[in-house]
Symmetry: C2
Subunit: 122 residues, 2 copies
């Protein structure tokens, strides 16, 4: 499959990121990159997922699947995020059964977007 | 082009939607459907964009473009949403210049997701 896990590297966390230090989003990206990446998943840093009040934020997307954006993440969530990404990658449509989703995905979803429907060529 | 404007029809608005009445999301969808739809844009109702605390919510997406989710919308915003959808459709990558975006899109973005990169076939 071809799942992309986008990680915002410019994200701050409310009240815990003094100016001038490494952004919490960059720390989250580093934590993710330091773990074994599930097969089928590519980690991609990105500058801003427009979820600035809900940092740190990550997004899961794949061709033909629902896309999801999650917020209020931190480096301590890296392993769980990758578990969730693997479940997403294994799903047919991006809809992982509720009970099997990591709790941080159940409780910290910021938004989801339906799969893109390509126009029919006639 | 092939822009889809997804409209959550199950969205509530905090404090203004008594149980049993038509959902504000459905009212927003009706307001949008009653206006002339910009060329290239398709309005698509959807049950839940997982932005339940930020209703009403809508999403803009198109193949190869950044996707956006907006929240805290209402039927009174329908015409502005369609203006924003037309600008999105006219853009090459979904990134409408900041100054030309409707104010509700500048201030009420919940999240955005980068374009999906299709795997290279070799």
């Amino acid at each position: 499959m071809a799942t992309t896990l986008h990680v915002c590297t410019t994200c701050r966390r409310a009240g815990v990121d003094p100016e001038g230090e490494t952004r919490p989003g960059a720390l989250l990206h580093a934590a993710l990159a330091n773990l074994p990446c599930p097969e089928g998943v590519t980690i991609q840093p990105v500058e801003c997922l427009s979820a600035c009040t809900q940092g740190c934020s990550v997004a899961l997307s794949a061709p033909g699947k629902w896309s999801y954006v999650y917020g209020r993440m931190g480096p301590e969530d890296a392993a769980t995020i990758l578990q969730g990404a693997a479940l997403y990658d294994a799903s047919a449509d991006g809809l992982v059964p509720w009970r099997t989703r990591p709790e941080i995905f159940r409780k910290q979803s910021l938004a989801r977007i339906p799969p893109q429907v390509l126009p029919v060529q006639e």
